[in-house]
């Protein structure tokens, strides 16, 4: 499968985080295959998209980064990642990143993709398992914590 279908999400994540939060993401330049379950770093959001192909993006953040994003965007001082506003903000970031990426993919490949609204979750030792789909992950680091994105397209990575 065209590697651009994966790389575009890393580029969109970096660009949106920079634009909205003035925050640099270091790394996120390489992709690695995920073969098993994904252990959430703290707060994770999943969004799916469908058109001529089906896929999904998982954005996974360390709690410190999730709180920084919510506090910066909403101008408040949240200290609990389970706060609905914190989770909703993370979900919105995923929505914007995915929207940006799939618009570019639609323009370039006429894929007719559309997004379903994201879900976001948090908990203790949360594991995400997506048995029916292979995926690639990309890691990045900011001054406020780590971020991972994981992209999957049905039909696989090759």
């Amino acid at each position: 499968m065209d590697i651009n279908l994966y790389q575009i999400f890393g580029a969109s994540t970096k660009a949106i985080v920079k634009e909205m939060l003035n925050l640099d993401i270091r790394g996120m330049d390489t992709l690695a295959e995920e073969t098993g379950e994904i252990s959430s770093m703290g707060v994770s959001s999943i969004i799916t998209f469908a058109g001529s192909k089906k896929g999904r993006l998982l954005v996974d953040l360390e709690p410190s980064l999730a709180l920084y994003i919510a506090n910066t965007l909403l101008g408040e001082e949240f200290d609990d990642i389970k706060n609905r506003m914190v989770l909703s903000t993370v979900s919105e970031i995923n929505n914007i990143v995915s929207g940006d990426a799939i618009t570019k993919l639609n323009n370039k490949y006429s894929m007719g993709l559309r997004l379903a609204p994201p879900i976001v979750f948090t908990g203790q030792d949360v594991i995400v398992a997506i048995p029916k789909i292979n995926s690639l992950s990309s890691w990045g680091e900011t001054d406020h914590g780590k971020i991972r994105i994981n992209i999957a397209w049905e039909g696989g990575n090759n």
Partner: protein, 157 residues
């Protein structure tokens, strides 16, 4: 999509799950009122979920305590619960969602509520919290099989 539609669709899923568990695991389930859309437990839970793409997108989920998942998968596969790995439980709960959704998809084809399946996924952990956007049209069903509790949720997003 109205309140009545979503309740009817939730009943289709519940009926499908009843059939899956009865056919493949020999469990008979009954359902009781679900008044705990945001209920939480301190025990480890496993949730299988799937996004359905239709005229209006929806997310369905099936959550249960890890021990319940182990019991169900054990009865379905004939393997003792203690011999099942965590991976088997994640896979099994996702497959339950897949089978249930496949049946309802066929039932709703040629209706305004038809949908496409996506890949199911599972989440596991404790003190678990999941959020979707506000003002959803959502409902749930609380299902019991003996001492085991299963919660089915559907939300149109």
């Amino acid at each position: 999509m109205t309140d009545m539609d979503i309740e009817k669709i939730a009943d289709f899923f519940t009926e499908s799950l009843r059939q899956v568990l009865s056919t493949m695991a020999g469990f008979e389930i009954s359902h009781v009122a679900c008044d705990q859309l945001n209920a939480s437990t301190d025990n480890p839970i496993i949730m299988g979920a799937m996004v359905l793409h239709g005229k209006k997108d929806a997310i369905i989920s099936l959550s249960m305590e890890k021990d319940t998942a182990a019991m169900i998968i054990a009865y379905m596969t004939g393997i003792l619960p203690r011999e099942l790995k965590e991976q088997d439980l994640f896979d099994g709960v996702a497959e339950l969602v897949n089978i249930m959704a496949g049946e309802v998809k066929a039932r709703l084809s040629n209706t305004p509520h038809h949908f496409l399946l996506t890949s199911p996924f599972s989440l596991g952990g404790t003190n678990f919290k999941m959020v979707q956007k506000k003002n959803l049209l959502e409902t749930c069903r609380h299902l019991k099989a003996g001492e085991m509790d299963i919660t089915f949720r559907i939300a149109y997003i």
